[in-house]
Symmetry: D2
Subunit: 160 residues, 4 copies
């Protein structure tokens, strides 16, 4: 009956507890609105490139091996995340992308005609002091997505 409220929900995940919570919320929302879900993970190659410039690589030729490992683990993590949620009637697509997370999210939102983005407020790097800062990826997505964005805080914060 709420068909049409949302038709395609994008959920960018970095596998942090906060992004897993966002994925669960997205599935519930998709169920009541009969929307499809598109799960994406963006391998942050801009950060990786920065690290490599700072000396992370033992030998420069390692760069291909690095990305292969990250892609492999991303696929495993996405599969594990999809298996962790109980079977629902929601259609879930998946994509693994490489680049600057917020740029790829904004592009995918437009290319896939997404009408809602659901994402964790904080990424995997949030330490205690960092919690006073809004996750910079979420903030950038809100500014650039061009569609409604639902930010979901760290699990447990909701009921506080």
């Amino acid at each position: 009956m709420a068909k049409g409220l949302f038709t395609k929900i994008l959920v960018p995940v970095d596998f942090s507890p906060c992004s897993v919570e966002a994925f669960r919320t997205a599935l519930s929302l998709a169920e009541v609105t009969q929307a499809d879900v598109l799960l994406i993970h963006v391998i942050d190659t801009t950060a990786l490139d920065a690290f490599n410039r700072l000396g992370l690589l033992a030998v420069p030729s390692d760069t291909a091996a690095q990305k292969r490992r990250l892609r492999h683990h991303a696929r495993l993590n996405v599969r594990q995340l999809l298996e962790s949620v109980s079977a629902s009637s929601v259609t879930v697509g998946r994509m693994i992308l490489e680049g600057a997370p917020f740029v790829e999210i904004a592009k995918t939102t437009r290319a896939e005609k997404v009408d809602l983005v659901v994402m964790g407020s904080y990424g995997g790097r949030a330490d205690r002091m960092d919690k006073i800062f809004f996750g910079s990826t979420a903030e950038k997505v809100v500014r650039t997505a061009g569609c409604p964005v639902l930010t979901v805080p760290l699990p447990g914060k909701t009921s506080r």
Copy 2:
């Protein structure tokens, strides 16, 4: 059937087109999740006080009259907004508060056990150049609300 996903949805409005759009989205969401909606408007007395310090008042005794006028118009605007939406099955409460908007929104979220805030990304002050900036009230609410926050962009941006 989606009962429990959200039970109380807070919608802070400043009567800008963007906040009216957020209110409509909140009503649709409330319908499918069988949630109640709480519509609030916060009279930004911190900004008003700043203006008065800078010389806005003709005579200092005007301050009570100023606030009376703003309260009166807030009541009218809220009533008009509620009448503008077609009759739905959703229960809508209303509150008019005074203070710093994001502080009052964060307080109300906790006091009223709100589990979703829906608000416009941009307030009534957004000019062209300002659009590259995420509305500072929305940003502060995402950081401080402690519950999921759905930000809704300017009407028409959704389909772009």
Copy 3:
């Protein structure tokens, strides 16, 4: 001897303690670098317009009187601020503008070939809870000025 490090320093003030501190810091810097200082105050007409839309005005014709009062007080405040600083060898220009503060600051920076902006981190509206947020005008100026920006915190914070 440090001639050329900075030649024209822009100081936007809102007459808050923080902006007065920024003005003092700018004068000290101007002295050692032999730069000129340009003091500006922007009457935030976008906020005033928002208030008027919300019912601040008793009668619509008051709008001209409002702006006259704000301009008059801005001139008084600027004069008082200039008199409060002890006579120095620094040349200080002054301008009173109207519009959205960060837009006018960015425009003036380019039009006047400013090579340093010095401003308070927090404006006159900072309450306790607001202090965890970087003043949104300062933040926007850092993003848009196109030249170095020195942000000065609330007086007394420096020595902490």
Copy 4:
């Protein structure tokens, strides 16, 4: 003559062109104010840890080797940066730290009684689209440093 305006200037660098520009500006300022400069580089171990959780490491025991390499390169980069600036009368200290950059910068500011931080507005990860966003480390430092912060934009932007 401007002794006392600043006594200790902290310059966090990530070796991006923008941070090198900030270092040059800091040296010029230190010269006219007779301040000391403290150059620091923070190895972003929170980002590294995130990458390792996502599968960057071939074998878990590599983590020590990773950090050794990053430390070694940081020392080389700092030395090279110090050699690149023409001999000046300014005393420059150096520190290499590990952790979340803005947290280590805020701690060092307090521990070393720094009275000015000079840093690039954008870090090494700024791509074209990212330029509309203020570098998140710089933004966090402005909010947490508790002392004046001079942000320096990408080289070449100054003269625009």
